[in-house]
């Protein structure tokens, strides 16, 4: 059985963080993305703490990818 590398809650939090980053860059969210964002904003499992962690994690992974180029 393959090893799970992330939990569903963490994946949802990362998704919320991605949407926030995208919106923060001034990009327009599609209708599908807005629907997901709306669900995630009301999801009690997704917390500000996890979204904050996910934003830092994504920022870190972008930085690492860019520095290795």
């Amino acid at each position: 059985m393959p090893l799970k590398t992330s939990s569903p809650i963490w994946r949802k939090s990362r998704l919320a963080a991605r949407l926030l980053i995208k919106a923060g860059q001034g990009k327009t969210l599609s209708e599908a993305q807005l629907s997901v964002a709306s669900i995630l904003a009301q999801d009690t499992e997704v917390t500000d703490r996890l979204i904050d962690q996910a934003k830092h994690s994504l920022k870190g992974s972008y930085a690492k990818r860019n520095s290795s180029l």
Binding site: L29, L34, L40
Partner: protein, 259 residues
């Protein structure tokens, strides 16, 4: 001239030739190899066998250690508290049989702070093992009772090793700040044995501070608040409002589209 503080290194050799040491050695040697048992030594005897030989006590307090995980292979059939008490009786160190006697206690008698088991030291005698908590942990547990003799133990340790100084002891107290939080309802002492109806840790620590360091201690400001601030900075090290922002992005985008 400032008094030179003697070096205090831990773990240190256990003083098996001290009065308590000899008795404990007899007990550990009397435990059959097939029933090897890990013991924890606490109370004044633990101080006598380590940092403060002048601390005298009539009893040697021990309890059979909880055996879990890897230790269960090393100690497959440890003695129970009752069986250990029987061994103590057999070798003539039961209460009333010797001037210095062994008291086999339960684990719950000893209530140390959270650092205790990471810095306890152990020594094997035969197949059995003696674990001795750090002197700071031994001293801390004396604060529940805080009789004159308990203050004497603090003073003896301080005089011998120059520790714990005020800063060290404050740090120790902050590590177990939960013990100091004032109960919201009037304190009942039901969890403490009857001989210690006045076992109020907060008051005892205040009294100790005056005697040991010559000043009043503010428990809220110097123990609880710094500990809580530290925890707050560790636990709340994130921005809030992400979910609200996500909801507002959705609301804005949808209101634009409906216009």
């Amino acid at each position: 001239m400032q008094k030179e503080i003697p070096l205090f290194s831990w773990p240190m050799p256990l003083q098996w030739k001290s009065p308590s040491g000899k008795i404990l050695y007899d007990l550990l040697s009397a435990i059959p190899a097939t029933r090897a048992t890990p013991l924890v030594l606490f109370g004044s005897a633990a101080l006598q066998m380590t940092v403060a030989p002048s601390v005298l006590s009539a009893d040697v307090d021990v309890f059979p250690d909880v055996v879990v995980g890897v230790d269960s292979r090393e100690f497959p059939h440890p003695l129970s508290r009752t069986e250990l008490s029987d061994v103590v009786k057999d070798i003539g160190y039961a209460k009333g049989s010797a001037s210095i006697y062994i008291q086999v206690c339960s684990e719950s008698t000893f209530e140390p702070g959270p650092r205790c088991w990471r810095r306890a030291m152990s020594e094997n005698i035969g197949k059995s093992r003696c674990t001795v908590p750090h002197p700071y942990d031994i001293l801390f547990t004396k604060l529940q009772r805080y009789e004159a003799k308990d203050l004497e133990a603090f003073q003896a340790v301080l005089a011998t090793i120059g520790q714990p100084d005020e800063k060290t002891l404050l740090d120790e107290m902050q590590s177990c700040y939960r013990f100091f939080i004032k109960p919201s309802s009037p304190r009942t002492e039901e969890h403490l044995p009857r001989p210690f109806p006045l076992g109020d840790l907060r008051n005892n620590v205040r009294k100790l501070w005056v005697k040991l360091y010559g000043r009043q201690l503010n428990i809220e400001k110097e123990i609880i608040q710094p500990a809580l601030e530290q925890r707050q900075s560790d636990h709340a090290d994130f921005k809030t409002g992400h979910k609200a922002l996500l909801a507002s992005i959705v609301a804005k985008a949808r209101s634009k589209r409906t216009l």
